[in-house]
């Protein structure tokens, strides 16, 4: 084993943090949403997209904080709790 290998320290790589947060948002039962976009911006992890309730959005923030130690979390998720009207029917002729 070389000195380099023996003294290797884990490197803080934002890409891996984003991947771990995204994986956690997909698999944590409180969130379980594959559609949340996770972006690392400097020392901040930003959550983007639409979720279905305020509770789910808040849980997503908690999950992100758990899996991004050392990062701030900005929760910009939009909550779909006031759906728009369906709009006019599309006529299929």
């Amino acid at each position: 084993m070389s000195d380099h290998e023996r003294h290797h320290e884990p490197v803080d790589v934002p890409e891996y943090v984003v991947a771990h947060v995204h994986e956690a948002l997909t698999t944590d039962p409180r969130v379980m949403d594959q559609g949340i976009e996770v972006v690392a911006a400097g020392d901040t992890v930003v959550l983007l997209g639409r979720v279905f309730s305020r509770a789910q959005a808040d849980a997503a923030g908690d999950v992100a904080r758990d899996h991004a130690p050392g990062y701030r979390v900005r929760n910009d998720l939009e909550v779909l709790d006031h759906p728009a009207p369906p709009g006019p029917a599309e006529r299929l002729t």
């Binding site: 039962p29 379980m32 949403d33 594959q34 559609g35 976009e37 997209g49 639409r50 279905f52 309730s53 509770a55 789910q56 779909l80 709790d81 006031h82 759906p83 728009a84 009207p85 369906p86 709009g87 006019p88 029917a89 599309e90 006529r91 299929l92 002729t93």
Partner: protein, 236 residues
């Protein structure tokens, strides 16, 4: 005129979704049937299915559904299907249903679908057993979809899926994950058998409108995409 309401990805979880429940309870005012394009629950548990059934039970029109990947996660699919059946929901998987409206008929061929990607950037039936199993799952589903549509002797035919048959309705999603969001094999099945419309969900960041290479309309009705509790379609 036959009026259909459609939505996917309602993702009923632990919390009550009162807005969705209120909108669906009143859907009979503007639609003759409701079609659900999968991911009806968050984790696919029987408890979530019971909450979903409570939302769907008051819906005053026939409800036809397919399941999505979320509905499979807890591996309680039979319980989910049974629970939905108690609310009068017909769940399709490689099967069909026929709706009768004012003397006319609409056939619905339904399946979850699966991934694999699109022409030029797709998986192949080659290599490790896991990869072959992935592709063969999609092929088997596509073949049942083709047979289901071809067997429908109805005035109109609709393919109801969760995964997408085309890339157009995935625009907005990262292209790297397209192979996990749909497969051209589904579109090929639809184009071979013919249909008036394909409905799907799954791609929350996708786009609403697309078309198969054979010219069949494709609509992504995932709730985060449409921003409403359902979309409406009229067949004449």
């Amino acid at each position: 005129m036959i009026r259909l309401a459609a939505v996917g990805d309602v993702h009923v979880g632990d919390e009550p979704d009162r807005a969705l429940a209120a909108d669906l309870a009143a859907v009979g005012d503007c639609a003759d049937a409701l079609l659900l394009a999968g991911d009806l629950t968050r984790c696919g548990t029987r408890d979530e299915a019971a909450r979903l059934a409570a939302v769907l039970d008051p819906v005053p029109v026939p409800v036809v559904a397919v399941l999505g990947n979320h509905d499979h996660h807890a591996e309680e699919v039979d319980a989910v299907v049974d629970c939905l059946a108690t609310a009068g929901v017909t769940v399709l998987e490689g099967t069909t249903a026929t709706l009768h409206v004012d003397g006319r008929t609409v056939g619905v061929a339904g399946s979850k679908g699966f991934g694999g990607g699109f022409a030029g950037a797709c998986t192949s039936d080659f290599g490790e057993p896991e990869m072959k199993a992935f592709v063969r799952h999609t092929k088997a589903i596509a073949e049942r979809l083709r047979a289901g549509l071809a067997g429908l002797d109805t005035d109109h035919r609709i393919a109801l899926l969760h995964y997408s048959p085309v890339a157009a309705t995935l625009q907005g999603e990262p292209p790297e994950i397209f192979p996990f969001l749909g497969s051209y094999l589904l579109a090929e099945a639809v184009d071979d058998a013919g249909a008036d419309l394909v409905l799907h969900g799954h791609a929350h960041r996708g786009s609403e409108r697309g078309v198969t290479p054979g010219g069949v309309r494709v609509r992504n009705v995932a709730r985060p995409v449409i921003g409403a509790s359902y979309r409406l379609f009229e067949l004449s």
